[in-house]
Structures are given as C-alpha cells and as structure tokens.
C-alpha cells in the first residue's frame, strides 16, 4: 500500500482515474453496426463478385502470412541470423512434435503443412479484430440505404473534420412509420430501374473496410467443409473401400437395426464436425468482436484493455483448436473401423 502512495505510482493512478472519468463523462463513441454477413464495399467488385470487408481481411491475412513465411525462409542460414527464421523454425518444431505425439511421425510430416497453414492463417484472421481503428475506418452511408440493404435501423449524426467525415455518438433511430415509407420509396425507385438514394438522410451508418475474416460464416463453413471433405479423401486414399464401411455398415452386415443406427450416427457426426468446427470459430471471434465494440462503447478508455488481452488469447486458441481438430480428423480417417476386419 505504501508503495502506491509514492508520487510516481500515485500520479499514474490518478491519471488513470481521470482518464476513466473523462471517458465516461465526455468521450462517447458510437456502437458500430453489428451485422452477421460480411458487408460488401460499394464500388469494389470483380464482375458479379462483390468484395466484402471480410474478404479484404482474408487477403490481408494471406499477405501477412505469406510475407512473414517468405521472409522467414528467405536467405535461411544454418546458424540463424534472423529472429524470424528462428521463431519460424521454433514454431515448426513445436507443432511438428505435438502432431508426432498425436499421430506418429509419418502423419505429422504429411499434415504439418495443413496444420500450420490453418494455424497461421486463422491466427492472423482472428487477430485482425484487435487492430486499432479496424472497426472505425470505413465508408459512411445513409441509414435509410443501410436499412433497405441490410436491415440496419440505427444511424448516427455525422460531423465534418476537414476532408474526413466522422460519426458522432448522436443516435438516429428509424421509427416504424419511417421504415415503411423508406421501404416503399426504395421499391418504387428500384422498380424504375434506378439505385435508391435517400434525398435527405436522417442519419448515417459506418461500415468498416476491414473486418476480421473469421467473423464471416462463409469462411468458417468453407474451411470446415474443406477439411472434413479432405479427411474423407484421405480416408479413401489410405483405406480404399474399407473406409466406406463405417458409413455403409448396415449394408455390409445385413441391415441389423443396431448397425443401421450406428451408420446413421457416423453419418450425422460428419455433419456435426462441420457445424462444430465452423460455428465454434465463428462464434468465438464474432462474439469477441462484439465484446470489444461494447466495451469501447461503454467506456472508451482503459476498460477495453483487458478484453484485448483476452481476445488475443481467444484468437490464438481458436486458431489452434481448428487446426488441431483438423489434424485429428485427418488422423481418425486413417483408422479402419474398430474390429471390422475380423468379423
């Protein structure tokens, strides 16, 4: 206690408290619009393919991973001179060792690449939610348009700061009548073949240019589908026809009711794998992002800090869990069903 009463710590504590008070009383930030789908960025499209902010984040994660990986292996030395090479080798060895413990040397060697690619990619995709400003730099559009396109009903007043436009914390809510009117107007405009633009927007909505890629279900479900199908491919390639037995058990053993049930469970569990992989990742990171939004919304300084730490951990943990489960699924696919051969 006496340590805290010395001038320096005391000043720091008082500074913190002052910051807290200031942030609670004076600095308010708007709550970002929370939408489930990745948001397409207007004007950014390849043909019919609208580029979403989660897609941009994916590309950034790709670039970061590739850049780090290539920097690490560029000019490799037997006695490492670059720290990056050291770290990369260290990571490689740790996880290869871990996979060897789980599935043996041969399988670890075969799939450590998939494991590490998933780990690195998801790690940076997840951690992108932590980059300061990522949720507050974006394009601003009228709340009416956002309502028509995405169902957003809450906008904010804007303020012009030189060449920039910023949202204030003044909320604008669309009432039910207004919504009806906007819907009607938009339908009419679109029926005439034009794009809907409100004349006098009541409020504005900000959509970030970049949003953590794993907050998009398309990515998580896509990856989950990919790795589960991949595991089946591995199963077939390693076990051949034997692999099919686990699903076709009823047919082979003469349709005993219990076998039918087992085969059905086996089948369902494959879908459960996809669902659990994808929604675990998506749910954790999406919830983390919302948590960070809300904390910054409640108290803009200090309070979000511990949650950044938490999300750092969650981001790593989820990436690791996805990658290790993928490896385990791959590994399981190489086992023929217990006891089948001796029947």
């Amino acid at each position: 206690m006496s340590k805290l009463l010395r001038p320096k710590p005391l000043a720091i504590i008082i500074g913190f408290l002052a910051l807290l008070v200031i942030s609670i009383l004076f600095v308010r930030v708007p709550l970002p619009t929370i939408l489930l789908p990745g948001e397409a960025i207007p004007g950014l499209a390849i043909g019919n393919f609208k580029i979403t902010n989660t897609f941009i984040a994916t590309l950034i994660a790709d670039i970061v991973v590739l850049a780090l990986a290539f920097l690490a292996v560029r000019n490799m030395k037997d006695v490492p001179e670059s720290k990056l090479q050291n770290i990369f080798e260290w990571i490689y060895e740790i996880f290869e060792g871990m996979l060897t413990d789980i599935g043996g040397k041969e399988k670890a060697k075969a799939w450590v690449g998939v494991f590490l690619t998933l780990l690195f990619f998801l790690l940076f995709a997840n951690w992108m939610e932590l980059v300061p400003g990522i949720d507050s730099i974006g394009y601003i559009e009228p709340v009416e348009k956002a309502y028509v396109e995405k169902g957003v009903t809450v906008g904010y007043q804007v303020k012009h700061l030189g060449p920039f436009i910023t949202l204030t914390s003044e909320q604008v809510k669309l009432s039910n009548e207004e919504r009806e009117a906007i819907k009607k107007e938009a339908e009419e405009v679109e029926a005439a073949g034009q794009e809907y633009h409100p004349h006098e927007p009541k409020g504005y909505v900000l959509t970030p240019y970049v949003r953590a890629a794993t907050t998009d279900l398309n990515l998580t479900i896509g990856l989950a589908l990919l790795v589960v199908i991949w595991s089946h491919v591995i199963g077939f390639r390693r076990l051949g026809g034997k692999y099919a037995r686990r699903f076709a058990l009823p047919v082979i053993t003469g349709m005993k009711p219990i076998d039918l049930f087992v085969g059905l469970l086996e089948f369902i569990s494959e879908f459960a794998k996809i669902i659990s992989l994808s929604f675990r990742l998506f749910g954790n990171i999406f919830a983390g992002q919302v948590l960070l939004f809300v904390m910054a919304f409640l108290v803009s300084f200090l309070l979000p800090l511990p949650f950044f730490g938490l999300e750092l951990f969650v981001g790593f943990m989820q990436a690791f869990v996805f990658a290790i489960l993928t490896f385990i699924y791959f590994e399981q696919a190489t086992h023929s069903h217990a006891g089948d051969e001796h029947h």
Partner: protein, 163 residues
C-alpha cells in the same frame, strides 16, 4: 441462409483462397524449413559424434601418455635407486679398502717397529757383547786391580748409558 450471409460464391472463394495459401506455403516455405531442420539435426548429430570420437581419442592419448610417463618415472626411479645403491657399494668398498689399507699400514708399521726394535735390540746385544768383549779385553790387558777394574766398568757403563 441469407440472414447468416451464406453465399456459395464467397464460400468457394474462401476455399480457393485457402488452397492457394496452402499451395504456396507447402511448395516454398515448409519444405525449406523442414529441410533446414533436418540438415541441422544431421549436422549436430555428426558434430556430436565427431566430438565424442575426438574426446575418446584424446582420452586414449592421455592414458597412453600417462602410462608412458609413469613408466619413465619408474625407470628413472629405478635408475636412481640403482645408482645410489652402486654409490653406496662404492663407498663401502672405498671405506673397506681404506680401512684395510690403514690396517695394513698400521700392521706393517707395528711389524716394522717390532722388527726395528728387534733389530736394535739385536744390535744393542751385539754392541753390548762387543763392548763387554772390549771391556773384558781391556781389563784383561791391564790386569788391573780391583779398584781400577771397578773404575773401568764404571766408566764403561757410564759410557754405555751415555750412549
């Protein structure tokens, strides 16, 4: 599905994206790292083996040298011992010789002295006899009275003792 934002195009694009990433890393990055680790492991193993061999060799060399040193030391000791024994013997010999010589000298001296004594005694006997003969001659020649006889003997004896 639309509410969740699910869209087949996006889904496929993410899968393709991941495949590309995997392909690039698998092609250019992981083999390099794995190769490097493998090589380093091999080289370290080789180095350790070599170091082990070198150490064993050095140990053997050391043992050999130690044995050699020990042998040389023992030999030197032996030589020193032998030398000192020899010296002792020489000393003893010299002493014995000296003693013997001294003894001989002493003995010969004693013998010589004895011989001299005998010789002198013999000489003395002879001289005494001669003198006695001489004195007797004189006595006989003069025919002396008893008083003169005594005087002559007296003189003779004093002469003798003076001699």
């Amino acid at each position: 599905m639309a509410a969740l934002g699910l869209n087949l195009n996006y889904l496929l694009s993410y899968i393709v994206n991941f495949f590309l990433l995997y392909f690039l890393l698998k092609k250019f990055v992981f083999p390099a790292v794995s190769q490097m680790l493998e090589d380093r492991k091999k080289r370290i193993a080789e180095g350790l083996t070599a170091a082990d061999a070198a150490r064993r060799e050095a140990e053997e060399e050391r043992k050999r040298l130690m044995a050699q040193l020990e042998a040389e030391r023992a030999e030197a000791q032996q030589r020193v011992a032998a030398a000192s024994a020899q010296a002792e013997k020489v000393k003893e010999d010299i002493l014995a010789q000296a003693r013997r010589e001294a003894e001989a000298i002493k003995t010969s001296a004693v013998e010589e002295a004895e011989a001299e004594k005998q010789r002198i005694l013999a000489e003395a006997h002879k001289q005494i006899a001669e003198l006695a003969m001489l004195a007797a001659e004189r006595v006989v020649r003069k025919g002396l009275d008893e008083k003169t006889q005594h005087q002559i003997i007296e003189d003779f004896l004093s002469q003798v003792s003076l001699n």
